[in-house]
Symmetry: C2
Subunit: 313 residues, 2 copies
């Protein structure tokens, strides 16, 4: 998928439909509460990597919505699905897709009410999820002095995609881990729901870590100083083995359904408890400061939104 094109397309849509602040979910007043809606489109030719079965593909389209709800601290209550299916698909394959939706909604505790099916040239799955909340954790609420946290290490999905798409090499154990990261991503719903009230801002990271940080810093009108890069030793070994840029894998990959959040110091202990309770590998990656932009603290090097800047010298 051409990232630039997608950004341009989104701009055209936002301009036509009225410029609103970008959020992970759409909200509207519902009495004293907020109605929360999110839709996600998964397209066969661009979003389904080789070897992903129809069941997991349907699950992935649900995960994309659930991860956005998780980052905003909102429970998904109901979903509807809309699927374009190629004529050549067998009944077995169609059943796997339907079962994938059912199992994913059950995994994340909500109901799929129904939907619409149609014939198309390639598989396209749209999932829309609805919830109710008193409020949401915004992208733009970071305050100077807050810690920046992420709910897991980054880069494994990129590594997995490189393994699957570009025939890169990995040892057997790590290969299994990174393929699993691609096929069965885990949105942080339990953590997000409980942690929501303790975070000053949060965002789903599936557009890539750099894009996410830049967006949060920009909406918060703050500087994000990154002191600790959320990379694992195994990823560094994989990058070295395959002559890949580890920073590129960590910052510009995308498709990691982690939460990036900012936490006031007084809430850090609580957030860590919630992470432990939910078996989340919480990583503090930096601090919010006065100023603007995202920087690597050590080198004061600026991080821009994914894909353009590479970290090679």
């Amino acid at each position: 998928m051409t990232k630039l094109d997608e950004k341009e397309i989104i701009k055209i849509f936002q301009k036509s439909l009225g410029n609103k602040t970008s959020e992970d979910v759409e909200t509207f007043r519902l009495g004293k509460n907020l109605g929360v809606i999110k839709t996600d489109t998964l397209v066969e030719s661009t979003d389904i990597p080789p070897g992903m079965n129809p069941h997991d593909a349907a699950r992935k389209s649900v995960v994309a919505c659930v991860s956005d709800f998780a980052a905003k601290g909102v429970w998904p209550l109901y979903g509807i699905v809309s699927v374009a299916i190629p004529k050549k698909y067998s009944a077995k394959k169609i059943k796997e897709i339907a079962d994938g939706f059912r199992d994913a909604s059950s995994e994340f505790g909500f109901s799929i009410l129904g939907g619409d099916t149609n014939e198309g040239k390639e598989l396209v799955m749209s999932v829309s999820v609805f919830g109710i909340a008193q409020g949401i954790v915004r992208r733009g609420g970071a305050k100077a002095g807050d810690s920046i946290i992420v709910t897991g290490p980054f880069g494994n999905t990129s590594a997995g995609l490189k393994l699957l798409l570009e025939k890169k090499k990995a040892n057997q154990k790590y290969a299994r881990k990174i393929k699993n990261a691609v096929y069965r991503p885990n949105p942080r719903l339990g953590f997000g729901i409980l942690a929501g009230t303790y975070m000053s801002s949060a965002m789903d990271s599936s557009d890539g870590l750099s894009t996410t940080l830049v967006e949060m810093a920009s909406q918060s009108k703050k500087k994000f100083a990154i002191t600790n890069i959320p990379k694992e030793l195994e990823l560094e070994q994989f990058a070295a083995q395959n002559r890949l840029d580890v920073m590129d894998l960590v910052f510009n990959g995308g498709e990691e359904y982690e939460i990036v959040g900012t936490v006031p110091q007084r809430n850090l202990k609580k957030i860590k408890q919630i992470a432990k309770l939910n078996k989340i590998h919480l990583i503090e990656i930096g601090m919010v400061e006065k100023g603007n932009g995202v920087f690597l603290a050590e080198s004061n090097k600026r991080i821009t939104s994914g894909g353009w800047l590479h970290f090679k010298n």
Copy 2:
């Protein structure tokens, strides 16, 4: 689109996701009210007829949802869109699509909150619409003695599609009318909202008149006796000129976004007033009786769900 395949696919999905009664919209409890959600998928290769511009295609995907809300007597409040766009599309074309969504939502008085875009092999547009209601007009509420009404004549869209797809002939004035029926369908939102409380059952007719009548009779466990076929003289002339079966055009076409409803005798006057107010060409087509199935009253010939039965002879 293969109708049989679509039915089979829907069955697979319904079986996986839990068998629920088919309705035009999905509903869930929202305090004392019902939350109402509907999604519709419009696919370039199967749903966009030749000559339909991107603006009207986007409008059509909105119309499909609005028509279902109309038939259930529910105002659409908010929408989200999810669009897969081919790489080759120009910014101009994408803007026309976005403007189509904006103009359609404004035409039908609701807000599009946002959505998702993606790259795909062909244009696929999913629209999800949300509303709140105290209740909905069900498909299964017809009572013996009710009149069966439709909000307009049938067959013009089929005729239009035959003109566009199969090079059939029509005089200039009628050609314009039936092409317009294809390109700019008019869901009966104003009528549906006001008439909802006066109808015992209703359904959107976009899957075809025969399918709609059979579904309503079946869910209502009643016999629908059709005494008056909602066809216009112009359609009969078009059918004769092109050697087409006028009954097939009327009953098995589809894509007419009319409301089919049943009305208790005591409410008929009121319904007619509402139709007049909304400039709707209301047609009484028959009566609900004890029994089951849909029949042409004159010949006692059974009407089955579109596509299989033809009315020749």
